[in-house]
């Protein structure tokens, strides 16, 4: 039985005060808060079995390796990859994207086409622009409409036999719009293109099934899923991961080294040079276990309820406009108030204990499309409450009064 007040007790940070007010944390799209279960897992690692992995014969090293690999298996099971070796640990989404972009340098030629969407975060634009600069490939953009919904007819028109790669986020970080990725993947495969899905904003809201999606690559970060910062994954179909060259050289990623020739380790270690974020990987597994204990259908129910309520309450404020009004969306509300700057609103409501994000959300092209400097973005998690939405609405009203 889902009881939000019980769940909140798992998150120690939620009981602190900010500027004299109870913290209302509505910046979950930037990073989620961490439950005691994940914090305990981190403390347990450093208190009891911290050791380097994969190389020691001693007991601690064995224990740490077992837990690290068990977490990889938890991740594989959660996302339904076909093999554990298809889960590459990285430092997060941006690292994962750069790994793939770097790998494709030798696989692309001048005139090849790469497709991204108009809704992308900078981390899913810049690495591909850099890849285009290195290879002479051309970047194409799927346009969106005023509701923040990608134009699928235009997308299909962009696809042709020169299309090599398609990169789209699962859910837009700036607007919360859920993109039709299954359709995008299937259409890309029709012309033989490879698809990478950026799931940084999705995995805390929905249970993603890699095999059902049939995506070639999927990337995400632990810290948006109640896990620690500095760890994430690259999922890739085995055939593609075999084809990509290693990204970084070093320890862990080799089979044999001599000065004449080095042979690389097999998957997943080929892409995991150096000592990894061992504790982070293990805690990522604990975070996934935690989310599954609550249940993704319960999470979705709570977040949908908060979204609907917040939408209704915020729209009662005169002059408030919400960006990203497509019907398929997660619990993110990006808004502005006519005549007011998002920075001013964010500054005032912070003084009232409310944490939101203001600015362009690292998605400047999205802001340019709407011709705005940025938005105020409130993003809700399953541990947020109706009372917190009320606190947000009343703080925004107060800010409006002060600023107008």
């Amino acid at each position: 039985m889902f009881d939000v007040n019980e769940i909140r007790k798992d998150f120690p940070i939620l009981s602190r005060k900010v500027n004299g007010y109870p913290l209302v944390y509505l910046d979950n799209a930037a990073t989620s808060q961490k439950p005691q279960q994940v914090i305990d897992c981190i403390v347990d690692y450093y208190s009891n079995y911290n050791a380097n992995i994969h190389r020691g014969v001693h007991t601690l090293s064995q224990e740490a390796t077992d837990k690290y690999e068990a977490a990889r298996n938890t991740i594989k099971e959660h996302f339904n990859a076909s093999k554990t070796s298809e889960i590459i640990y990285t430092s997060g989404t941006t690292h994962s994207i750069n790994l793939v972009a770097s790998g494709f340098t030798s696989l692309l030629k001048k005139g090849d086409e790469i497709i991204v969407s108009a809704l992308e975060h900078h981390s899913n634009i810049v690495p591909w622009q850099m890849l285009c600069e290195r290879t002479g490939a051309v970047l194409k953009v799927i346009p969106m409409n005023q509701e923040g919904v990608l134009d699928m007819d235009a997308y299909v028109d962009l696809l042709n036999d020169k299309t090599q790669l398609v990169f789209v986020n699962h859910i837009s970080n700036a607007l919360g719009i859920i993109n039709p990725i299954k359709f995008i993947i299937d259409q890309a495969h029709r012309v033989g293109a490879v698809v990478l899905i950026d799931g940084a904003q999705a995995c805390s809201h929905v249970k993603v099934d890699f095999q059902a999606l049939d995506c070639d690559f999927y990337v995400t970060s632990a810290h948006k899923m109640c896990g620690p910062t500095g760890v994430g994954i690259l999922y890739g179909k085995e055939a593609w991961l075999e084809k990509l060259p290693p990204y970084q050289g070093g320890g862990e990623m080799i089979a044999e080294v001599s000065f004449e020739k080095t042979t690389y380790a097999g998957l997943p270690h080929k892409f995991e040079a150096g000592t990894p974020n061992i504790c982070g990987g293990i805690a990522f597994g604990a975070a996934i276990d935690y989310l599954n204990t609550i249940g993704f259908s319960e999470i979705a129910k709570q977040e949908e309820m908060l979204l609907e309520y917040a939408n209704k309450k915020l729209l009662e404020i005169e002059g408030l406009k919400i960006y990203g009004t497509g019907s398929e969306k997660t619990s993110v509300i990006s808004f502005n108030i006519e005549g007011l700057h998002p920075y001013d609103i964010g500054t005032i409501i912070d003084k009232l204990g409310i944490a939101v994000r203001t600015g362009h959300h690292c998605a400047q092209p999205v802001m340019d499309f709407f011709n705005i400097p940025g938005t105020v973005r409130a993003s809700f998690a399953f541990y947020n409450t109706i009372e917190e939405v009320d606190a947000l609405v009343s703080a925004v009203k107060k800010a409006k009064m002060m600023l107008s």
């Binding site: 007011l340 700057h341 920075y343 001013d344 600015g359 400097p373 002060m402």
Partner: protein, 141 residues
């Protein structure tokens, strides 16, 4: 008036307020009272770029003193500029360069010195002092 005595006045003015809300309301009023800059003057060479809000800052040398004009698209930022301009307008470049900035803490605006305010006080002060450096060099030559 010297920079120091203007700063002292500001500290005393802000001391009259009981809470942050009154301080911010006053700052917003100061922002609103700052003369508007014509849009044609808001050119990219005068912009202090950042993540959050835009600031335009321009300066000229009037005799041996510097005059500043500035604007921002965000009103709280504009209030901060209004405070800075009140302190530094019509002052000698060397006095601007020598000025202590601890009054910002004293008037309760310390949070605007945080590095997360990418376009906050720090970059504005830096830009003001850069103008002062340039004009001081001009006066010396």
């Amino acid at each position: 008036m010297s920079i120091e005595s203007i700063q002292q006045d500001l500290v005393e003015e802000f001391e009259m307020f009981d809470d942050w809300m009154q301080r911010y309301e006053y700052m917003i009023d100061l922002g609103k009272s700052l003369p508007l800059i014509d849009d044609t003057q808001k050119t990219d060479d005068k912009i202090i770029k950042g993540c959050q809000s835009k600031v335009w800052l321009d300066a000229s040398l009037d005799g041996d003193k510097v005059t500043f004009t500035a604007d921002s698209d965000a009103i709280i930022t504009k209030g901060i500029i209004a405070i800075l301009i009140r302190v530094f307008n019509n002052q000698k470049p060397q006095d601007i360069l020598n000025a202590e900035m601890s009054f910002i803490d004293d008037i309760g605006l310390k949070e605007h010195l945080s590095p997360t305010r990418a376009n906050g006080l720090v970059s504005m002060i830096k830009q003001l002092k850069m103008y002062a450096t340039a004009y001081q060099a001009k006066l010396n030559s």
